[in-house]
Amino acid sequence: MIIKPGTRKRGDDRDEAMAQSDELEALTKAFSGHGVDETTLIAVLGKSHPEKRKAFRKGNPQFFKEDERSFERWDDHRIKLLKREFSRFKNAVVLWAMHPWERDARLMKEALKDGPDSYNVLIEVACTRSSEELLGARRAYHSLFEHSIEEDVASHVHGPERRLLVALVSAYRYEGTKPKEDNAKAEAKTILNVIKSGEKKTDNEEVIRILTTRSKLLLKAVYKDYQEISGSNLDEDLKSDSRLQETVQCLCTPERYFSQVLDLALEIDADKSTKKALTRVIVTRADVDVKEIDEEFNKMYGVRLTKKIEDTANGNYKDFLLRLIAKGD
């Protein structure tokens, strides 16, 4: 809500109080959600009266704490959060302008640095890019970081996930038309047997082989065949193993996967790395399938992605994202 300067009647206390609380609300909203509402900040906070700002500080305990030496002090944590929100537009622009190879290489490096909670980004990049795009990202990784991506993943990731992740980032899948011999049904059966046996799936070398070397075309057929022979979806049956589940979703049902990631990112209390996904997904899919993701999002959650972004994001950041989505029109 933007209050236009000069539209408020002066001298009316009740109006004044209400207007103040409106402004407070507007300012709080301007700082919450994704990005910042630059226009409101300029219009409201830009108004210079020191009294107004004091009232803002006093009336906003989540941003300002009463210091023992009698002044209202910015909450340090809140400043950190604000810094992040102010940077969201910048980060989106920088990421958007980047060559896709550099972009993916940097995303993967960052995910490795951030640790296991961000490993889903490795899976996302490795599985939703074309073979040539992933190859390009690997080349860029050499230039940027003077190591190969598989080298860094192998030395940073420990435990059973390592094998899966190294294999996924190293894949150079066949992408042509269906080959004559197509054993999708047999592969589906193999996976079903492993799942039924209860053994740890990330350790099973056949599951790894199928998911990390077979072509996407074949894997989509495996997904379908699995549904036919078992009655449930493969990614649901892999729920106990989030990495494998993410892998299957990215390879077989990417629009669903991205919709879920976006839905989580757009939640009020989303944490730092979950929130980052909004920029990442929109920027990396804007040239690819953002329209299909928008439709799938609507199907899954009953609201258009664009509407959700409209409601949850602010300012230039919001406008930029919406423009990226509308690009194809």
Binding site: R139, H142, E150, A154, A167, E175, T177, T213, R214
Partner: protein
């Protein structure tokens, strides 16, 4: 250096005509085929194929396949393919054997530059409509699968810079893994399938400095099994590929029997690369010339073709 003797100037059209003459009518003039193809490098052979296609509207490769037979045919077929296509074919043949020929896969992965290996993977997809790693995985199991899939999938960093501290720590990792009766392979596989070649060599050197023996010797002593053979092949290809190829030839020549695949493969794939150095290494090691050894062990047109690639003068 190449052992192949190819002329600076040549005419693809003349060569194509000569080859057509060699194949025309009853019988084949193998000597002419050897005279031409046995003295042309990869770029020249490609032009000859194109000229032949233009002149006679036929694929030279297919023609030769139908005209020739036996070990000679196999050798010429491999020779005339584009080098990356050739490696794709060699890999596929190796995998399809009832006992997959792991050294071939290891050789292809370790001897090429990262970009060359990528080209081989591209050629493989084009020819077989599956990725190389897909087929390697489908024809192997267990730790051999982990090792070989890792080797063919690697796109190693190509810098010459090495991190001495890392070489030290990874030499220790290798030492501990090998020393351990259980010999957990995962760390060894990780290092061998992801580090840059320069870094690997530094690590192996560090190992030798620390332990007093080469890592391949220690692996052999502690764990004589199939997987270890594959590990040692990998390490030897990285460390000194010419020495490795010399040994392959030496063993193939020593072996009684009719399987000339190894001899063909090494000579055909290295003739334009480092067969000269391999010959020198062979002489040093065996006090006999490779040419003579090959001549004694093979016969007919096949022999003549191999000797041409080895650089024998007309």
């Amino acid at each position: 250096m190449a052992s192949l003797a190819a002329p600076g100037h040549f005419s693809p059209t003349e060569d194509a005509e000569a080859l057509q003459k060699a194949c025309k009518g009853w019988g084949t003039n193998e000597k002419l085929i050897i005279k031409v193809l046995g003295h042309r490098n990869a770029a020249q052979r490609k032009q000859i194929r194109q000229a032949y296609e233009q002149l006679y509207e036929e694929d030279l490769v297919k023609r030769l396949e139908s005209e020739l037979s036996g070990d000679f045919e196999k050798a010429v077929y491999r020779w005339i393919l584009d080098p990356v296509d050739r490696d794709a074919v060699l890999a596929n043949v190796a995998l399809k054997k009832s006992n997959p020929d792991f050294p071939v896969i290891i050789e292809i992965s370790c001897v090429h530059s990262p970009d060359e290996l990528l080209e081989v993977r591209k050629a493989y997809k084009l020819r077989y409509k599956r990725s190389l790693e897909e087929d390697v995985a489908a024809h192997t199991t267990g730790d051999i699968r982990k090792l070989l899939v890792g080797l063919v999938s690697a796109y190693r960093f190509e810098g010459e810079e090495i991190n001495a501290r890392l070489a030290n720590s990874e030499a220790d990792v290798l030492h501990n893994a090998i020393k351990d009766k259980a010999f957990n392979h995962d760390e060894v596989i990780r290092i061998l399938t992801t580090r840059s070649k320069a870094q690997l060599r530094a690590t192996f050197n560090r190992y030798r400095d620390d332990q007093g023996t080469s890592i391949t010797k220690n692996i052999l002593v502690e764990h004589p099994d199939d997987f270890s053979v594959a590990l040692r092949t990998t390490i030897r290809c990285f460390n000194d590929q010419q020495k490795y190829f010399e040994k392959v030839l030496r063993n193939a020549i020593k072996r009684a029997g009719t399987d000339e695949d190894d001899i063909t493969r090494v000579i055909v794939t290295r003739a334009e690369k480092d067969l000269k150095e391999i010959k020198e290494g062979y002489y040093k090691r065996n006090s006999a010339s490779l040419d003579q050894a090959v001549a004694k062990d093979t016969s007919g047109d096949y022999k003549a073709f191999l000797l041409a690639l080895l650089g024998k003068e007309e």
